[in-house]
């Protein structure tokens, strides 16, 4: 009974569970997809899960540092997307495809 009552009393842990689920979906998506653009989107999902955890801790501790950390994650995500998509465009020019299986020049 207390478990059911605790389930509907939204606490910090609820947000952590959602963050964990979202991170896992992103990680599995990164592993199973072959389109590099969709792989980048899965990385964004993982970064978002971390952002959710940062904000949840920020609320739990009443500390502005967690929300400040979200800004740094955002900046890193923006830089990653800019450079990553430039790499994808450069690869597409040479190979006419963005599938990760095609990019195997380093394979022995």
């Amino acid at each position: 009974m207390t478990l059911v009552a605790g389930l509907f009393d939204i606490s910090t842990q609820h947000y952590f569970v959602v963050g964990a689920l979202l991170f896992t979906i992103g990680a599995v998506g990164l592993l199973v997809r072959k389109n590099t653009i969709v792989m980048f989107m899965c990385v964004e999902l993982m970064l978002n899960a971390v952002n959710l955890t940062f904000v949840a801790f920020s609320k739990a501790l009443d500390d502005a540092a967690g929300q400040a950390a979200v800004f740094f994650t955002l900046i890193v995500a923006a830089a990653e997307v800019a450079v990553g998509l430039a790499i994808i465009v450069a690869i597409f020019r040479r190979r006419q495809g963005v599938t990760a299986d095609d990019i195997d020049l380093l394979k022995g």
Partner: protein
């Protein structure tokens, strides 16, 4: 009321995230990504982080996803993609790794833990209901050095993407002629 909002938006968030992974068309993936970003900003609002919620919509749902869509349309890869797996072990391995990662994260979350009374920035997230002022003071005092480092990172990213995406004046060599030892077909 809180529980209804939380579980409703959790369902939207997680199903949209699954949609990003299983959509065959990259454009659909990008649109599912917008859904997850907007839902995430609702979560930020529910956790007393209005500025982060707004920045999430402005930067993520607008700028980053538009960049994704722009590249998808530029390259013309907005066709349906086969989800069939060429390598048989890849999908079971991903499932096993996903279950392991989820078990680890959930055991950390649901297990016994407690928060210390320690504040890193020494500032509350709300200064008489104002979220922007404590956040700005934290960023420009306590995190001033990381903030400058991110400025350098952004400059490097801009220069790097310009260098990478620039069309070379020399004709690109034929990729197949350049590596005669390559195994298998490119497509």
């Amino acid at each position: 009321m809180d529980a209804i909002l939380f579980f409703g938006f959790s369902a939207i968030l997680l199903s949209a995230a699954i949609g990003v992974v299983i959509a065959r068309n990259p454009v659909h993936s990008a649109l599912f990504l917008v859904t997850t970003m907007v839902t995430m900003s609702v979560f930020f609002l529910m956790q007393d982080a209005p500025l982060v919620a707004i920045v999430q919509i402005v930067v993520y749902a607008s700028a980053i996803v538009v960049l994704f869509l722009f590249v998808i349309m530029l390259l013309g890869v907005d066709r349906h993609e086969s989800l069939d797996d060429g390598r048989r072990f890849q999908r079971p391995a991903a499932a096993i790794l996903g279950v392991l990662a989820l078990a680890g994260l959930l055991s950390l979350t649901v297990g016994h833990w407690q928060l210390g009374g320690h504040r890193l920035s020494g500032r509350s997230i709300s200064d008489n209901g104002d979220n922007v002022r404590p956040l700005a003071r934290t960023l420009f005092t306590h995190f001033a050095w990381p903030f400058e480092v991110t400025a350098v990172l952004l400059v490097i990213a801009v220069v790097g993407s310009v260098v990478l995406a620039r069309r070379s004046s020399r004709p690109a060599p034929n990729p197949d002629a350049a590596n005669p030892l390559q195994q298998g077909s490119a497509r």
